[in-house]
């Protein structure tokens, strides 16, 4: 079984060619670090959205990866197929593409809201386990529909950076990775700001004590929906950057969703209920995975192709052995 798993993961966990081309020693280490931070940023976004949904609604969302694939697919659709809104307003290519991506992210947020309203809200009060099973169903549903839209093969998301590489003093860095880190950082700052706003404080209050929040007049239904919207938007951003060079030539629903599952170790690592932990966990997993890919690749024929794809799970198991509730999680959460 362990032998076939790396094969499955191989297409989604390629060794970063920019890192491989960065020579050796310190330059290679720095290139590896940047690549790891970029991958970690994607995991962090996925984990962050997952934890926001879990904290606010107590739902373990197994459809998170599928939602990420929806975001990437919609970006391919708006940017490549329709060129919307670029064809209407013109402007530089990076701006046109970014606007398409924003439209796709917002639409994915709406998908999140709708999924919550249709499938999760009616389950309020049911055992958490049943709700988790429902999200498994949502995962299959969303992936199947998205796969149908995508058709056979890979749909490129049409980002303007392509396979471009910047060479900074011998350190070779894929341009997409700098963009990934910047966009992820902006998204995290936005989330942090949101949590200080009136609605954000209400969401944190609801996450802490639902009845006490209701007693303040907070409409927890609205808060639930909003958490799904935000979680889906973050997943969409992650899905888009998981579908560009050097990670993947484009979006394939099942593959992208499967890739997103690798953020789960990040969640466990940080602690299921810790927003900060999700971000830290994401970066740790990303860096460790790229480091393993970089430094253990000479042993690939022993370890198997794409072995670095399993590294996140190994790190997760190790952490669980030492700290069963994650690095930043609360103890009681284990009972969930």
């Amino acid at each position: 079984m362990l032998a076939s798993l790396p094969l499955l993961l191989a297409q989604t966990a390629p060794v970063d060619p920019a890192v491989q081309a960065s020579g050796g020693g310190l330059t290679r280490f720095l290139a590896m670090l940047v690549s790891g931070i970029a991958l970690g940023a994607i995991y962090a976004l996925l984990a962050l959205g997952f934890v926001i949904i879990f904290k606010a609604t107590q739902v373990v969302n197994f459809a998170h990866g599928a939602i990420a694939a929806v975001g990437a697919y919609l970006t391919a659709y708006f940017a490549v197929t329709l060129n919307f809104p670029g064809s209407l307003i013109g402007g530089p290519r990076w701006l046109q593409w970014s606007l398409s991506a924003v439209v796709a992210i917002l639409m994915t947020a709406v998908v999140g809201l709708v999924l919550e309203r249709l499938f999760i809200r009616p389950m309020i009060g049911e055992p958490l386990f049943s709700v988790a099973i429902i999200t498994l169903g949502i995962d299959i549903l969303v992936r199947t529909i998205t796969d149908d839209f995508i058709g056979t093969g890979v749909r490129p998301v049409g980002d303007p950076w392509g396979a471009g590489i910047w060479n900074i003093g011998g350190i070779r860095i894929a341009q997409t990775q700098i963009v990934t880190v910047l966009v992820a950082a902006a998204a995290m700052v936005a989330v942090a700001a949101f949590f200080r706003s009136r609605t954000g404080v209400a969401m944190r209050a609801t996450a802490f004590d639902q009845e006490a929040a209701m007693a303040q007049g907070i409409g927890v239904g609205r808060i639930f929906a909003l958490s799904w919207g935000i979680g889906a938007a973050l997943a969409a951003i992650a899905g888009i950057f998981a579908s560009v060079f050097p990670r993947s030539p484009g979006v394939m629903a099942t593959t992208t969703a499967f890739f997103a599952f690798r953020a789960f170790p990040a969640v466990i690592l940080g602690g299921l209920d810790s927003v900060g932990g999700a971000v830290v966990g994401g970066f740790v997993i990303g860096i460790v995975e790229v480091a393993a890919g970089t430094y253990l690749s000479p042993y690939a024929d022993v370890l198997g192709v794409g072995f670095q794809g399993i590294v996140p799970y190994l790190v997760m198991l190790l952490v669980l052995l030492i700290r069963p509730y994650g690095l930043f999680g609360t103890k009681e959460i284990r009972r969930v």
């Binding site: 009060g125 209400a202 802490f208 639902q210 009845e211 006490a212 209701m214 007693a215 303040q216 007049g217």
Partner: protein, 264 residues
Amino acid sequence: MLEVANLEVVYNDVILVLRGLSLTVPDGKIVALLGANGAGKTTTLRAISGLLDVHEGDITKGSIRFDGEDVTEAAASDIVRLGIKQVLEGRRIFAELTVDENLRTGAYTNKDKQSVTDSYERVMDLFPRLKERRKSVAGYMSGGEQQMLAIGRALMSNPKLLVLDEPSLGLAPLLVQQIRDIIVDINKQGTSVLLIEQNANMALSISDYGYIMETGKIVMDGEAKKLLGDEDVQEFYLGLHGEEGERKSFRDVKHYKRRKRWLS
């Protein structure tokens, strides 16, 4: 004015907890609702605040009206908007949030900035302790401070009726006195109060009117002063004449209830 009429509440479709309870809280008054553990006081408040859903509870009979409006089936957020605010049993502050953030959640339904600022000033005046600890994480505060925060949070929406579920529970005598004085102050500022207490003497000493409930029903009600002076009430509910101040056993209470029925 709050009017509860013939309220019947069932948990999980089978457990009948309130059996035709009626009570009234007139504007500007303090009304005490007393009763032994398990009598259904908290359930009554859940019904008033629209919080039964969370506990799989349902109102099967009766009605709740506030200022003439029927709120029997209203959502918790609408009830808060109409002006009823409850301080839940056990304080239930948001321990991970700061004092200020807790207060902001209390103002959630209050969209008028000026009114929020005014409420905040009022809370800071009532609770100077909270002012000193504005930026502290609420969970690290003492029990007394947390109760003050819970009351302050409730006041942030400037409610017409404040409902308090055992605010003195687990507090040292000195703090009970403080909470008592604060309730009087809040009432003087024009807020009606429905007060639930185990500490019946404290509650009746500041109330205008009192209700005594037992197994889901009001078994006695009257002017607070009268209840305080009533020998039966003293004996069976306030525990003053029992040996070493202890409350009489449940069987005695039952006996009392039967006797009262005969009289009325």
